[in-house]
Amino acid sequence: MRDKQIEDLKDYKYGFSTDIESFKAPKGLNEDVIKFISNIKKEPKWLLDWRLKAFERLKVLKEPDWQKPKYPKIDYQDLYYYSAPKSFKDKPKSLDELDPKLLETYQKLGIPLNEQKRLNGIAVDAVFDSVSVATTFKETLTKQGIIFCSISEAVQKHPELVKKYLGTVIPLTDHFFATLNSAVFTDGSFVYIPPGVRCPMELSTYFRINASDTGQFERTLIIADKGSYVSYLEGCTAPMRDENQLHAANVELIALDDAEIKYSTVQNWYPGDKDGKGGIYNFVTKRGLCKGKNSKISWTQVETGSAITWKYPSCILKGDNSIGEFYSIAITNNHQKADTGTKMIHLGKNTKSKIISKGISAGFSDMTYRGLVDISPKATNSNNFTQCDSLLMGNKCGAHTVPYIKNKNSDSNIAHEATTSKISEEQLHYCQQRGLNPEEAVGLIVNGFCKEVLQQLPMEFAVEAQKLVGISLEGSVG
């Protein structure tokens, strides 16, 4: 039974593509395309100006090249910056009007959009290529004053909130990929939790790249007002294609006084085939701002997909007593490469941060943890604890740790530890003695290695992630 299950999962099961007619913007990156995107979304003028400003800035920016995994140069003129299912030209009003093929796609991915059929009570916003196709449980949420919709809708219905917060954490003048996103972002989720509200269910976005030659540039903005709480999940998949596809998203989190945001990601983009052909370039900018006092932002990520993962979800701890957390599992197999980690920037007094990172590399892959802990002179009595462990399987892969530690405050403490090792023969022997086959044994040990992080995930996700950890390492033992 179990063997069959594993057999079924061995290949990338989300690799199918949906044969759906799509409507695209002309290829290339220029002012006209930006105007086209803005026009089709019926955006107000300030947003178009904002995009164009970002585009101006982009012209002078250079693509960064300090990262460990190198990739062939991307031709930004050879990409589609907007792609939407054709039936979306006039947005359907309800799920009944949705293209059945789309529904089927999400069914296949295991994300039923029909609310009645759902048992686990997670509100989902599904993003297909460049547009958001459906958002569920809207009514339940609206009752509490929670806004959960696509960012395009938010621009129309809540322009004051978007205008106030968009670009405050990741400014227009940031690095290349963030600025590119600011210029051409298409859709994404928008969440606003009003003061004192504890969001009754998990909010979730599911990203899917379908069309070929497209870059996905989504933008997520989450605002937790005073004293509120929200837990947000993000999942991603893409079809198997031979060429590399770019995914450059921006995620901005803002936590005001006493608010808490928990952001979890299970990233399972198509990683490319066994020889490293194809796969997604996952170059994402994620940044959270603990703006108010006693606020908390916690990032949890399980990174198993993508040909190249290059991201550093960070926390800017501006408010006094604010807390930042980062829990990460990154697994690379075959020819996958990852350069990931976090930044904890302590600005306020009594701020605390915690980093737990677990990296596992197998096959011919290469994994780098890169992190920054910066305690500014004013951040008195701040604390950081960092632990990053790496596990290597085979001598064709690499694991690297590059932490940057800056302490400018004598009342603050930073502790950092890192280890690199392999699975011990003794542990393997013990598990096999109890009747597990070598692959099961490795799966069990790896799951134990990752436990600290898996525990942080919401229930449904944890189960999925645990399975994913096992699958990602298939074929790496022996």
């Binding site: 690499g398 405050n409 530890e417 690199t420």
Partner: protein, 415 residues
């Protein structure tokens, strides 16, 4: 500065009659330096210490020409009195005296050469600067199976009227099979606004042992850079200890290639900084074959506006299975203006390894102070006792008893 460089380089070329090959070597290096200039923060390894900026704000305009024909006074230098030792005295980048009076003459060979390219790849522009402007460099060979009876002390100093000058020196060592050398580098310059650029090359043959102690204790206003390149064959051991304290700015860089099985490298350091001093240790331990070992321990005590940087890297190639690499850095920040930056880096391509690093920084433990004060010590004494204990950890790693005591006395640390 470019003008000054060109004038000084022309002057230098006229001074000696160089062979065509030597001339070409110096010119290539000079051009490379002209192209790159002093390293700045845009370079990853100089991120925390922008030398270009440091030279600008501390020195201003530099001159690069040194008259190597001039005799320098060596009797002004205060020698270590409580330790019998061999001497090598470097003043303004010129080797003034080599004295191996305690050793058997035929066991040590001293070659004075004009300079040859021993390292092909470009390390950084400062090595180019060194190659272009250094005088004849000296190569010391310790013969097979010989271990020096007394340590060799290298005194680095400047003339008392030397100012705003860049001096370059290079010394190479070769330890033949089973040879042993104890080396103390001591800085005796009390001038200001000079930039000392020092470059060492060590070749350690099978089973040889190198113990290198670098002591920068006397207070001065100079900017210094030292690069140690160590190549280790099978079963060799290198031990490097750095006491980084007196200079305005000092960056010590250790590059160690473990290319023989069962070779091991130890790098230990102490930052004891005050005022606005800014020091850095950067280590690069390359494990290239199986069964090699490295150990690094760096501790810092930072007063006032001082700043310490530790960048330690352990590299393990895919052949280097069974590597054991360890690295630890601790820092105590005593003033609200002091700063500690660290970048402990692991780059690992082999799976059967044991590598770990740790780094911590923070203030003195108030509980320990309270405990000591409750036993009748005053605050100052309690603080001193705690710091002593903290630093003693590193000093105890020194394997040579004589030198350990010397350093303990220098730091005023008692057991």
């Amino acid at each position: 500065m470019e003008e000054q460089l060109k004038i000084d380089f022309e002057k230098k070329l006229k001074d000696f009659s160089y062979s065509d090959q030597e001339k070409k070597f110096k010119e290539t290096n000079f051009k490379e330096f002209l192209k790159q200039g002093f390293p700045n923060r845009k370079l990853e390894s100089w991120k925390f210490s922008d030398l270009n900026q440091i030279i600008k704000s501390n020195i201003g305009e530099l001159t690069f020409y040194n008259d190597y024909k001039k005799e320098n006074q060596i009797d002004k230098i205060q020698l270590i009195s409580d330790l019998e030792h061999n001497k090598l005295i470097v003043i303004d980048g010129k080797i003034e005296k080599i004295d191996f009076k305690f050793e058997e003459k035929d066991k040590i060979e001293v070659l004075v050469e004009q300079g040859e390219e021993t390292i092909k790849e470009n390390i950084n522009s400062l090595i180019n600067l060194n190659n272009a402007f250094s005088n004849k460099f000296c190569k010391i060979i310790i013969k097979k199976n010989y271990s020096l009876k007394k340590p060799l002390v290298i005194y680095h100093s400047t003339n008392k009227n030397t100012q705003s000058k860049n001096t370059n020196s290079r010394i190479d060592f070769k330890l033949e099979e089973n040879a042993c050398l104890r080396l103390i580098d001591i800085f005796k310059d009390n001038t200001e606004k000079n930039f000392l650029n020092i470059y060492y090359n060590f070749e350690l043959d099978k089973s040889s042992i190198l113990k290198n102690y670098k002591i920068d204790k006397s207070i001065n206003n100079n900017v210094k850079y030292s690069y140690n390149n160590v190549k280790q064959e099978a079963n060799s051991i290198s031990e490097t200890f750095i006491l980084s304290s007196g200079s305005k700015f000092f960056k010590n860089e250790i590059n160690c290639n473990l290319q023989g099985q069962h070779s091991s490298a130890f790098v230990n350091g102490i930052f004891d900084l005050d005022d606005e001093n800014h020091h850095e240790i950067k280590s690069n331990i390359n494990h290239l074959v199986e069964n090699t070992k490295s150990y690094q321990l760096v501790k810092s005590v930072l007063e006032k506006k001082s700043k310490a940087v530790y960048q330690g890297k352990i590299f393990v190639s895919s052949e280097a299975q069974k590597t054991d690499g360890y690295q630890l850095s601790n820092a105590i920040l005593l003033s609200e203006n002091s700063e500690f930056n660290a970048k402990p880096e692991l780059e690992i391509y082999a799976d059967d390894v044991k590598c770990s690093h740790g780094s911590s920084s923070g203030s003195l433990d108030e509980n320990s102070i309270f405990y000591l004060m409750s036993r009748g010590l005053n605050y100052k004494e309690a603080k001193k006792l705690l710091i002593n204990g903290f630093l003693l950890d590193v000093i105890e790693k020194i394997t040579d008893e004589e030198i350990k005591n010397l350093i303990k006395n220098l730091l005023g640390v008692k057991e």
